[in-house]
């Protein structure tokens, strides 16, 4: 019961943050609403019993990556975005289209909920520190290490592209 109430509140916050991200004109407000979305997602992970994933979501996404976004916006001193009227067709077709799609997806999921099955909340499920560690460092060690090399290559590529002008 408490779980359900908390979930509804957090889901509303995260959807409101996402809508606000699109509606805001100033990039820094958009970036901060993305932080709100990530924070409420972290809380939803916490409700699922995935404490480690929740903490990493806050530390890495809301903390490190979004700080860099905000940093870039601050350094470039990006002003409020200019808006054109936009095409009327997009407004006429887009908004009802999104609504229809949402209803369709929701209806499909609810009507087929028996075949889809559910995720039960239990402490041994996933997202606990030891479970994540077991998956990363034992079962999927090789893909994990290869991904880290891939990220290293991406960083080196960024450095090379960044200082090309000499």
């Amino acid at each position: 019961m408490v779980h359900q109430i908390l979930f509804i509140i957090l889901a509303l916050i995260s959807v409101a943050g996402a809508v606000n991200l699109l509606a805001q004109r100033h990039p820094i407000n958009s970036a901060l609403s993305l932080v709100v979305v990530m924070g409420s997602l972290a809380m939803i992970y916490l409700l699922l019993g995935a404490e480690f994933v929740a903490a990493i979501q806050v530390i890495v996404y809301a903390g490190a990556i979004m700080v860099l976004f905000v940093f870039v916006i601050m350094l470039l001193n990006a002003g409020a975005e200019e808006r054109t009227r936009g095409s009327r067709l997009a407004l006429l077709l887009g908004v009802p289209g999104v609504l229809v799609l949402g209803c369709l997806l929701g209806w499909t999921m609810v009507s087929n909920s028996k075949q889809l099955g559910g995720v039960s909340i239990s402490p041994t499920n996933f997202g606990q520190t030891s479970n994540v560690a077991r998956l990363l460092f034992r079962d999927f060690l090789l893909p994990f290490e290869i991904t880290s090399v891939l990220i290293l290559i991406a960083i080196m590529g960024a450095v090379v592209l960044g200082r090309r002008e000499s």
Partner: protein, 359 residues
């Protein structure tokens, strides 16, 4: 325990901790002024109350009564949000810190920690990602400083906040890595668990020594990395470039006045206390210490040892402030990235090798 008593106990604990913490913050400022004055051969505040003991109260009243100015052309909502965020995040960090084992008041036993609970069989448990929550709160706290500088619409504020956030992001890496050695030894992220693994004494060469089983002894390199990174995280001397008054007036809080300035001020001192608490919990055995005397004394002594160790760290903060000059900015960055970070990684490798060989 039903939910009603749970909420009542939690609210009482929160109020108590916040009250004690804010009093501690107020008296840390007095301690700092007094100690720095002694180091510089002055008296420090002596006028308000005996030995100047009521000075924090006078300062608080002054902050509340000052005019709350909002400069023109600030980004108003973020200008107001920033100090609140900084203060809130330093309060969140204190919520997961255990101050002692447990306490029994009027038949109710509860853990001396906001997020800790006592079970019916007398065992205690707390949130099992406590350390990560503290790291998360500090990384969100960066927003408070970054947004304060940007929204103030002033060059000094912006430069100060850019310096502060760059410094905090850089040193957070070294800070996080210095804690990994402790995690390898204790194999838990719960702060209460980490403390309870530090009970007793080291068992060396087949002998039970008198050396307490604190992680400072096997992890002294990690301790020094932690201490330096934590000083940089809290923007204190010798890493206080974000508020270097000779260059930047006051850095990110230049444009703030009255209670909004006081919020930044309180957040900074609260972070100092949190860093002291964390150092005590991870490296100095938390509340463990010699227990003796009647049962009442035995119940109070753990809290006393904890407070004493935290006091030592606050003293160290102030002592260093009175002793060391400020780094240059390039020195600061080079020190963090080229010295502390490789050293922390080397410490992790050596520690994990030893742990693996022992297992």
């Amino acid at each position: 325990m039903d939910i009603k008593t749970f909420i009542i106990v939690a609210v009482i604990k929160i109020l108590l901790v916040v009250f004690i913490l804010l009093t501690g913050v107020a008296y840390t400022t007095l301690l700092e002024r007094k100690l720095v004055a002694r180091i510089q051969n002055r008296w420090g505040p002596t006028r308000v109350g005996p030995f100047g003991l009521l000075q924090p109260l006078a300062d608080g009243v002054k902050f509340i009564l000052k005019e709350d100015m909002v400069p023109d052309n600030v980004h108003k909502s973020l200008y107001i949000l920033a100090p609140m965020l900084a203060l809130a995040m330093s309060l969140v960090a204190i919520a997961v810190i255990p101050f002692g084992p447990s306490i029994t008041v009027a038949g109710h036993t509860t853990a001396l920690q906001i997020t800790g609970v006592a079970h019916a069989d007398g065992s205690l448990s707390d949130i099992n990602i406590g350390l990560l929550i503290i790291l998360g709160a500090t990384s969100i706290g960066v927003y408070g400083i970054a947004l304060a500088g940007w929204s103030s619409n002033s060059k000094y504020s912006l430069l100060g906040s850019l310096r502060a956030s760059a410094q905090m992001i850089s040193y957070e890496l070294a800070l996080g890595l210095s804690l990994v050695g402790i995690l390898l030894l204790s194999s838990s992220l719960s702060l209460r668990e980490i403390v309870s693994t530090q009970a007793g004494t080291w068992f060396l060469g087949g002998h039970n020594t008198y050396l307490p089983h604190w992680y400072i002894f096997p992890q002294f390199i990690a301790f020094f990395i932690y201490l330096m990174a934590a000083f940089a995280e809290t923007n204190r001397i010798p890493f206080d470039l974000p508020e270097a008054e000779t260059e930047l007036v006051a850095g990110y809080h230049t444009e703030y006045s009255s209670m909004k300035f006081a919020m930044f001020f309180m957040a900074e001192y609260m972070n100092m206390i949190t860093v002291g608490c964390l150092a005590t919990l991870l490296f100095f055995g938390g509340w463990h210490g010699p227990l003796f005397g009647p049962p009442v004394l035995q119940a109070v002594l753990p809290i006393f040892w904890f407070a004493l160790k935290v006091f030592f760290f606050i003293f160290l903060y102030i002592w260093i402030r009175g002793t060391l000059p400020r780094f240059r900015y390039d020195q600061l960055m080079a020190f963090g990235w080229k010295f502390l970070l490789p050293l922390a990684i080397a410490n992790i490798i050596v520690t994990s090798l030893i742990v693996a060989l022992r297992a």
